[in-house]
C-alpha cells in the first residue's frame, strides 16, 4: 500500500482475490460437509429402518429361542456378507415373541444362547443374560437390545436397520422393557 488512507490498486485486487477465494471456499465447503456427514443425515431418512421378514412363525417353536438372520433393509452392492445380520428369536408361549439383537449390550460382541442353562453368554467380557434378555451378570449395564416385531399372515417381521449400541441410540427401534416372561 502506498498511503495509509487510500489503498492502492494492487491492495484492492489482493483483497478482491482473497474474497473470491473465500467465496469459492464456502461454496465448496457446503457440499463437502454434506458429503462427509451423509451417514448422519441418511439415518434420518425414511427407508433406513424397515420391517423385514425372519420367516414363517413355525420356524420358531413355542418356548424355545432360535437363531435367525435377515438382510439389512439398506444394502449396497459391495456389502457382501456384512449386510446379513443375525438375531435371536424367543417364542415365549406361541403368541408372544422377543427378538434380541446379537450384540451384547456391553460392547457389541455376538452373544450365544445356551438352552441347557437358559442363558445368553458373551465371549468377549463374560456378560450373561437370562432367557428374557435381562441382565444376569457381567459388565453389561442393561439387558439385551430388542427389536420391535409383528406377526403378519403367519410371518414374523422385525423392524431393523441399525446396529444397536449402548448409547441409547435405538430407543425408538428397540423395546426398552422386555415383556414379562
Amino acid at each position: 500500500m502506498t498511503s495509509s488512507e487510500r489503498p492502492s490498486r494492487r491492495g484492492i485486487f489482493l483483497g478482491l482475490g482473497v474474497l473470491l477465494n473465500a467465496i469459492a471456499g464456502l461454496t465448496l465447503a457446503v457440499p463437502i460437509l454434506r458429503y462427509l456427514f451423509s451417514p448422519v443425515s441418511r439415518g434420518r431418512k425414511p427407508g433406513s429402518r424397515a420391517w423385514v421378514s425372519l420367516g414363517r412363525v413355525e420356524k420358531f417353536p413355542a418356548g424355545q429361542t432360535r437363531f435367525a438372520t435377515y438382510r439389512n433393509p439398506v444394502v449396497t452392492p459391495s456389502d457382501g456378507e456384512t449386510a446379513t445380520i443375525p438375531c435371536w428369536v424367543r417364542n415365549i408361549d406361541g403368541e408372544r415373541f422377543q427378538i434380541f439383537a446379537i450384540n451384547c449390550a456391553h460392547l457389541g460382541c455376538p452373544v450365544r444362547w445356551f438352552p441347557q442353562s437358559n442363558l445368553f453368554m458373551c465371549p468377549c467380557h463374560g456378560g450373561a443374560y437370562y432367557a428374557d434378555g435381562s441382565r444376569a451378570s457381567g459388565p453389561p449395564e442393561r439387558g439385551l437390545f430388542e427389536y420391535r416385531y409383528r406377526v403378519d399372515g403367519g410371518t414374523l417381521f422385525i423392524e431393523a436397520g441399525a446396529m444397536p449400541t449402548p448409547g441409547a441410540s435405538l430407543a425408538s427401534l428397540t423395546v426398552r422393557r422386555p415383556p414379562c416372561a
Binding site: E81, I102, Q116, S117, C124, E141, G167
Partner: protein, 484 residues
C-alpha cells in the same frame, strides 16, 4: 565416474541443495549424544518408510470392499509371489513401529528431552504417538476378518456412549447404521490417505525441530535447565565439545536401523502374516473376538472396570491422559533432566509399564471370558466322582449340563470367570451353596428358574463333596447347636 560427478554438479547448480545438506549433516552435536540410547527416533522413521513401501505394495492388490477384502487378502497370501511376506512385513512392521515409538518416548521422557526449549518437539511427538496408534487401529480394521468386524462393533459401542452426540458419531464412524462396505472404505481412506498424511507432516515438523533446536544433550545430574541460561549453555556444549552428526553419531543410527529391518524381516519370515482370521460374516457367531496386541490392555481394562465407571473412564480417561502428556513440558519445563534425580518420573514409567504389561497379559488370557465349550468338552475329573453316592453323581451331571463349567474350573480345567470349585465346600455351607445357586449374586446369574428342586438338591450334594481330603466342609454352627 567423472560423468557422475558432472551430472551431480549439473543438478546441484540448479537445485542448490548440496551445500545446505552438507551443513545439516555435519552439524555439531554434543559428544555424549552419539549413544545407543539415541537411535530409536531414527529407527522409528526407518520402520515408517518400510510401512509406506509395503503399504503401497499391498494397496496394489487389496480391495477395500466389505464383500471382497477378505478374499483379496487370501489372494495376496496364497496366490501372489511373496504376497504373504509383504503382508507379514507390514504387520510386523506395525508392531515394531509401535514398540519403537514407545521406547523412544520413554527414553526422551527419562532424559528430560521435553524440557525447555523442546516443548513443541514433545507435543508433536505425543501427536505422533496418537497417529501411530490410529494407524494400528485402522490397519487392524483393513485386515477385514471376524476380529475386525466385532472390533468395529466394540469401537461403535464405546463411541455411542458420548453424551448427546453418541448416535451421530456411531453413524460417522461406521459410515452408516451398520458395519458394512461404507465402514471399510472410510477406514481405508483414513489408513491410506488421512492418517499417513498427518504422520508425514508431523514427522517433518518433529525432525525440523530436532535440527533447529539441536538434539537433547546427555543429562548430567546437577546440570539444571533454566530458561535464561540454557541456550547459551547448549551452544557452548556443541561448539566447544561437539562432534559432527555425520559421521561421528550417525553410524549408530544406521546400524540400529539395519538391525531393526532385519529383525522385522526375520519375524515376518518365521512367524508369517497376521491372519486374516475367520470371514467377516456376522452370522458366524462361534467366535471370540480379540483385538491386536497393542490394544489388549484396553480390552482387559474394559472387563475389569466396574460397569458404572466404564463410560466416564472411557470418555474422560483418554482426554486426561492426553492433557497430562501435552501439559508435561509446561509444568516441568525446567530443572533436572537426569533420571537419577527424578524418582517420580522413573516411578511413573515403571507404574505405566507394569499396569500396561499386566493388563496386556490378562488381555491375552481373558480369564473373565466363559469357556463356551467347557461344559461339553471338559469332563469332571475322575477323582471327584470316585466313592460318590448316586445323588452326588447326579449333581455332577447337573453341574456339567447346566454349563457351570463354562465359568467355574475343576482341577484347572474350565472357565476362570467364577471361582474354582475344587474346594468350594470349605468356603460355603450347604445353605449358602443353595442360596448362591438359586439366587446368584456376586456376578453369578441366578439359576432358580433353570433348576428343578431335585436338580438343585443333587447339585448342592455334589458341591458339598468338593473339599480337600484333610479339610472338613464348612458347617453352620447354629444348626449344629440345634441338633445337639
Amino acid at each position: 565416474m567423472r560423468l557422475m560427478g558432472k551430472l551431480g554438479r549439473w543438478f546441484d547448480d540448479r537445485l542448490q541443495l548440496g551445500k545446505p545438506m552438507m551443513v545439516t549433516m555435519a552439524h555439531p552435536v554434543p559428544r555424549q549424544t552419539a549413544s545407543w540410547f539415541y537411535v530409536f527416533g531414527s529407527a522409528a522413521l526407518t520402520v515408517f518408510a518400510l510401512q509406506v513401501v509395503t503399504g503401497i505394495l499391498l494397496a496394489i492388490l487389496y480391495v477395500p470392499s466389505a464383500g471382497e477384502a477378505w478374499g483379496s487378502l487370501q489372494v495376496i497370501n496364497e496366490q501372489v509371489a511373496a504376497g504373504w511376506f509383504i503382508r507379514a512385513l507390514h504387520g510386523w512392521g506395525s508392531n515394531f513401529m509401535l514398540a519403537i515409538v514407545l521406547i523412544h518416548m520413554v527414553q526422551v521422557f527419562l532424559f528430560g528431552a521435553y524440557k525447555f526449549p523442546r516443548e513443541l518437539t514433545w507435543i508433536i511427538g505425543v501427536l505422533l504417538l496418537l497417529v501411530t496408534l490410529g494407524m494400528a487401529f485402522t490397519g487392524q480394521v483393513l485386515r477385514f476378518d471376524q476380529d475386525a468386524y466385532w472390533g468395529l462393533g466394540l469401537g461403535a459401542s464405546i463411541v455411542s456412549r458420548v453424551p448427546v452426540l453418541g448416535p451421530a458419531l456411531v453413524n460417522l464412524l461406521l459410515g452408516g447404521p451398520i458395519i458394512a462396505s461404507a465402514t471399510l472404505s472410510r477406514f481405508f481412506a483414513l489408513h491410506v490417505f488421512v492418517i499417513p498424511g498427518l504422520l508425514i507432516g508431523f514427522v517433518g515438523l518433529h525432525v525440523l525441530l530436532v535440527l533447529k533446536l539441536g538434539i537433547n544433550e546427555w543429562p548430567m545430574p546437577g546440570r539444571i535447565v533454566r530458561r535464561a541460561t540454557y541456550l547459551a549453555e547448549y551452544h557452548e556444549l556443541t561448539e566447544r565439545d561437539g562432534i559432527p552428526f555425520v559421521p561421528a553419531a550417525v553410524w549408530k543410527d544406521i546400524i540400529f536401523s539395519g538391525f531393526v529391518l532385519l529383525s522385522i524381516s526375520a519375524c515376518a519370515a518365521l512367524f508369517g502374516p497376521f491372519g486374516p482370521g475367520g470371514q467377516p460374516d456376522p452370522t458366524i457367531i462361534q467366535t471370540a473376538p480379540h483385538p491386536d496386541f497393542f490394544f489388549l490392555w484396553l480390552y482387559a481394562l474394559l472387563s475389569y472396570l466396574p460397569p458404572a465407571a466404564e463410560t466416564p473412564v472411557l470418555l474422560i480417561g483418554p482426554v486426561i491422559a492426553l492433557a497430562v502428556l501435552i501439559a508435561l513440558p509446561f509444568f516441568a519445563g525446567e530443572g533436572e533432566k537426569s533420571w537419577k534425580r527424578r524418582p517420580i518420573a522413573v516411578l511413573t514409567v515403571l507404574l505405566a509399564a507394569v499396569a500396561l504389561g499386566s493388563l496386556t497379559h490378562l488381555g491375552a488370557h481373558t480369564p473373565w471370558s466363559p469357556v463356551m465349550d467347557a461344559w461339553s468338552g471338559e469332563p469332571i475329573p475322575e477323582k471327584y466322582l470316585k466313592g460318590r453316592t448316586a445323588l452326588e453323581r447326579h449333581g455332577a451331571l447337573v453341574l456339567q449340563l447346566k454349563q457351570c463349567r463354562n465359568c467355574h474350573s475343576l482341577d484347572e480345567t474350565g472357565g476362570k470367570r467364577g471361582p474354582a470349585l475344587d474346594g468350594v465346600a470349605v468356603r460355603l455351607t450347604q445353605d449358602q451353596l443353595i442360596r448362591q445357586v438359586v439366587q446368584g449374586g456376586g456376578n453369578m446369574p441366578a439359576y432358580g428358574k433353570n433348576l428343578s428342586p431335585a436338580e438343585t438338591t443333587a447339585l448342592v450334594a455334589f458341591l458339598e463333596t468338593l473339599h480337600p481330603p484333610g479339610q472338613a466342609p464348612a458347617s453352620d454352627a447354629s444348626r449344629a447347636a440345634i441338633v445337639q
